[in-house]
Amino acid sequence: MRIHLACCTMILISFSMSCHTWEITDNFVKTEHSNNWAVLVDTSRFWFNYRHVANVLSIYRSVKRLGIPDSQIILMIADDMACNPRNPRPATVFNNIKQHINVYGDDVEVDYRGYEVTVENFVRLLTGRLAQGTPRSKKLLTDEGSNILIYLTGHGGNGFLKFQDSEEITSQELGDALEQMWQKRRYHEILFVVDTCQASSMYEKFYSPNILAVASSLVGEDSLSHHVDPAIGVYIIDRYTYYALNFLEKVEPSSTKTLGEFLKVCPRDYCLSTVGVRRDLFRRDPDKVPVIDFFGSLRPVELTTNIMNILPLKSNCTKIQEFEKKYNYVAQFPEIVSQYT
């Protein structure tokens, strides 16, 4: 359906252009990237990690609201919280005790869930080395014009992030995966956000260009949760993501808020941990980059000044000959012939 729509607008644009032969004004192309993707990963299983699912769904909600379509969001959730029997309000995940925002929503597509969320699948997704037969919704089909938002949340330590409490990805592995992406021209720019304990250790080993990395805490610090909901019985969201969502809720697709502001969403007295930022790999000044460059979406529109012919394709309309045959329903229960009589 969505594909239909995209094609449709594209053709309409090209069609109208062929009629008027527009001159493209100089300020028409403002951004360097041509499409947006988001990889949002919750690596924690078990009910007491409810808050990590709430974290990742908060970001999912924001990017979806700001225009990235589901086909370009890879959402990985390691456990089911919304329909968990322990959830007193089925099919909902709220970001705070007052139930302001149901971050789960009524329209959600989870691409990797449960046991599928593994280090192997995550690295394969990033580097594009997926098994044959992997459906499109599980592929990161980015190109050299893609801006990617990578958001990770879970339990981490100095230099690693745990997946499902049974395995872990190290910062070196992550750095190598990103370098492989760069060499394969799989991205234009990456905004890497990680909300775990000692989060800044995750980006220390990055060495590929065009990455802006944000971490909820520095090495040696814990990332803390925001508050507990007694009805659910566990902490329901982490501080950093809570304030990030607060900020993102105020962003509109047309807003001019910059990444510089996003980096300041959680000062130390709110987060109780220091938000770490790594700017040296990023070429632009975050204060001049709109938030929408990563959280919003550009439609893949190709501009052309040439006249395109969109007359109907000459399809060889060979009428498929349907032979008349006698069809039957099969008996639904076998004829019973006893083996023992």
Binding site: H4, L5, A91, E109, E116, G133, Y327, V330, Q332, F333
Partner: protein, 569 residues
């Protein structure tokens, strides 16, 4: 609205561009509300798309009402018939009767491939992968180790022009699969009106997932196009089964708004039929209630000895006056229920303690006055070693022999244990089937992250032909819509029911030990290697004991001392 209009315009354009066929497809949306004697209400949605065309790759690429995403998958993998269900909860056959479509807990996929498919395993893998992407479910975990081709239980429900055998059938169940909004969202997107208009607007995730049982299903097959059945059409049924509990409320009143959170705005404009049916057979017997608004028509359905009275609402007629809501208002408290239990049901459990071995017990209950022939399909995962020689089938303390038996032993990591039995259940009897099994010890990396939660084992499937249609709802084989089940008397009524899925805790190793174990076991090997190497390569020699300076000093003094003593002597 505008979007769908553009879409219609656009798809229309493409069709004009290609073959200028008249649309030969229909879409029907129906909802059956059936109050049950156990104070539950069974809500069954069925969205039926019938497309008068052949099942070919080329035709399935351009569709009108048929969902293109699904059509492409069906075409590419040469699927003849497909059933996918995603279910949460356990259907209570004893109290709730038989559902329209039976489904086991978690995810289940059954597919028949075309007769000219040669590499079925590959197509099956591809199909389940594609469906996993389409439905946001982990169906990609389906592989040969958990799929099988049962001979009796599943029969082709499509029309066919040649005899079929089960080699082109694959069945798999993933009982662990969770079902939530992310599965419902793509399900709704397959409908022609999405969830924007029509009955699908009632499918709000928060109200669906707080039910006692919910199941969504996609059923695709070929059916007869004409009475003589010389041509075939494609039929796609998307179903949602929900069981609502009305006991929560003291007066037991229910309404569409209460169940689904909102009333109905109108019918899907693309639908030829959009009806709501309410089964009011038990009104004035078990319950006394009044339906508001009063129905457009009442139908009496006589089927297999069971009489049902059904109120029919045509949504188009009612929704013109704004939002439409059907409510049942009880005027008197519930009577003592006249309660007809289902004539056949089953349950299953595991006996034994410890993580070493156990026995699987399946109990089949026949409440009918006649003997019933049933097929029992046991699908036992490979990590339970089954001893077929231990199978005992007893009924009233007497051993029973199956009428037929099919068995394929499982192989570790390759295929499950497949056991299919045809049994004749004596009238008014309980038949008990016991089989022993051992629990396997897996490699540490084969355990899931929550290994101590246990492993799920899919349900057993019981298939039977019932002589009467008591508590029976399913559509007849040649029917496509709910209407076709009214007054559809047949010789026998095919029913399929599933037992509980079971949780088994396998013995677990210590997951933190790999390095230690490797070191220790290698040390043991080295302990043997060292001495054996010495013995076989070296010679025994007698050597003087060379002492270091301390020892020398010591022996010197000792020598002096004792030497002096000796002299004295």
């Amino acid at each position: 609205m505008t979007i769908s209009r553009i879409l219609v315009l656009f798809t229309g354009l493409i069709n004009i561009g290609t073959c200028n066929n008249a649309y030969n497809d229909f879409f029907d949306e129906e909802l059956m509300l059936k109050p049950l004697s156990s104070d539950h209400v069974y809500a069954y949605f069925q969205f039926t798309t019938i497309w008068e065309t052949e099942n070919r790759v080329e035709t399935l690429q351009h569709s009108h009402l048929f969902p293109r995403g699904l059509g492409e998958i069906i075409g590419r993998h040469n699927v003849e018939e497909l059933h996918v269900t995603l279910t949460e909860g356990l259907w209570n056959y004893q109290k709730w009767g038989y559902p329209f479509h039976d489904a086991g807990p978690g995810a289940e996929v059954t597919a028949w491939f075309n007769k000219d498919v040669t590499n079925i395993e590959e197509e099956w893998k591809g199909l389940t992968n594609a469906l996993a992407g389409l439905l946001c479910a982990s169906l990609n975990f389906v592989d040969t180790s958990n799929s099988m081709s049962p001979e009796f239980t599943f029969r082709l429900t499509s029309v066919t022009d040649r005899p079929v055998n089960s080699s082109h059938l694959r069945y798999s169940s993933l009982p662990r699969e969770i079902v939530c909004t992310e599965n419902l969202t793509p399900f709704k997107k397959l409908l022609p009106c999405d969830s924007k208009r029509g009955l699908a607007t009632l499918l709000n995730s928060a109200h669906i997932h707080n039910t006692n049982y919910h199941s969504i299903g996609i059923h695709f097959r070929s059916i007869c196009r004409n009475a003589a059945c010389t041509r075939t059409s494609l039929e796609l049924r998307q179903t949602v089964s929900l069981i609502y509990d009305t006991m929560i409320d003291a007066n037991q009143d229910w309404s569409i708004r209460k169940f689904f959170g909102m009333g109905l705005k109108g019918a899907c404009p693309l639908a030829t039929l959009s009806n709501i049916y309410v089964d009011i057979s038990d009104n004035n017997t078990n319950h006394i209630y009044e339906l508001t608004p009063s129905p457009s028509a009442k139908v009496v359905s006589l089927r297999g000895g069971q009489q049902n009275e059904i109120a029919v609402y045509d949504i188009r007629a009612h929704s013109s006056r704004g939002i439409f809501n059907i409510a049942a208002v009880h005027s008197a408290p519930k009577n003592n229920a006249i309660y007809y239990p289902s004539i056949l049901y089953a349950n299953r459990y595991i006996i034994g303690y410890g993580q070493e071995r156990g026995s699987l017990v399946t109990k089949l209950y026949n409440n009918h006055w006649q003997a019933l022939d049933i097929i029992l399909l046991e699908n036992i995962p490979w990590y339970l070693l089954v001893y077929l020689n231990s199978i005992t089938i007893t009924c009233n303390e007497q051993r029973v022999h199956p009428l037929a038996q099919r068995y394929l032993p499982g192989r570790e990591r390759k295929s499950p244990y497949y056991l299919e039995l045809i049994l004749r259940l004596p009238p008014h009897s309980i038949t008990k089937i016991t089989i022993d099994m051992d629990y396997l010890f897996l490699k540490w990396q084969e355990y899931p992250p929550d290994a101590n939660h246990g492993f799920y084992m899919g349900p057993a499937i019981v298939t039977a032909l019932l002589p009467i249609a008591r508590n029976y709802t399913a559509l007849p084989l040649d029917g496509s819509t709910i209407t076709s089940s009214f007054n559809a008397s047949r010789d026998a009524y095919l029913v399929q029911l599933r037992t509980e899925s079971l949780l088994i805790s396998l013995p677990t190793p210590d997951f933190s030990m790999p390095y230690n174990v490797i070191c220790l076991a290698c040390t043991a090997v080295a302990l043997a290697f060292g001495p054996l190497h010495n013995i076989s390569t070296k010679r025994l020699v007698l050597k003087r004991i060379e002492k270091d300076w301390k020892g020398k000093l010591f022996s010197f003094f000792v020598g002096k001392l004792f030497g002096a003593k000796k002299k004295q002597d």
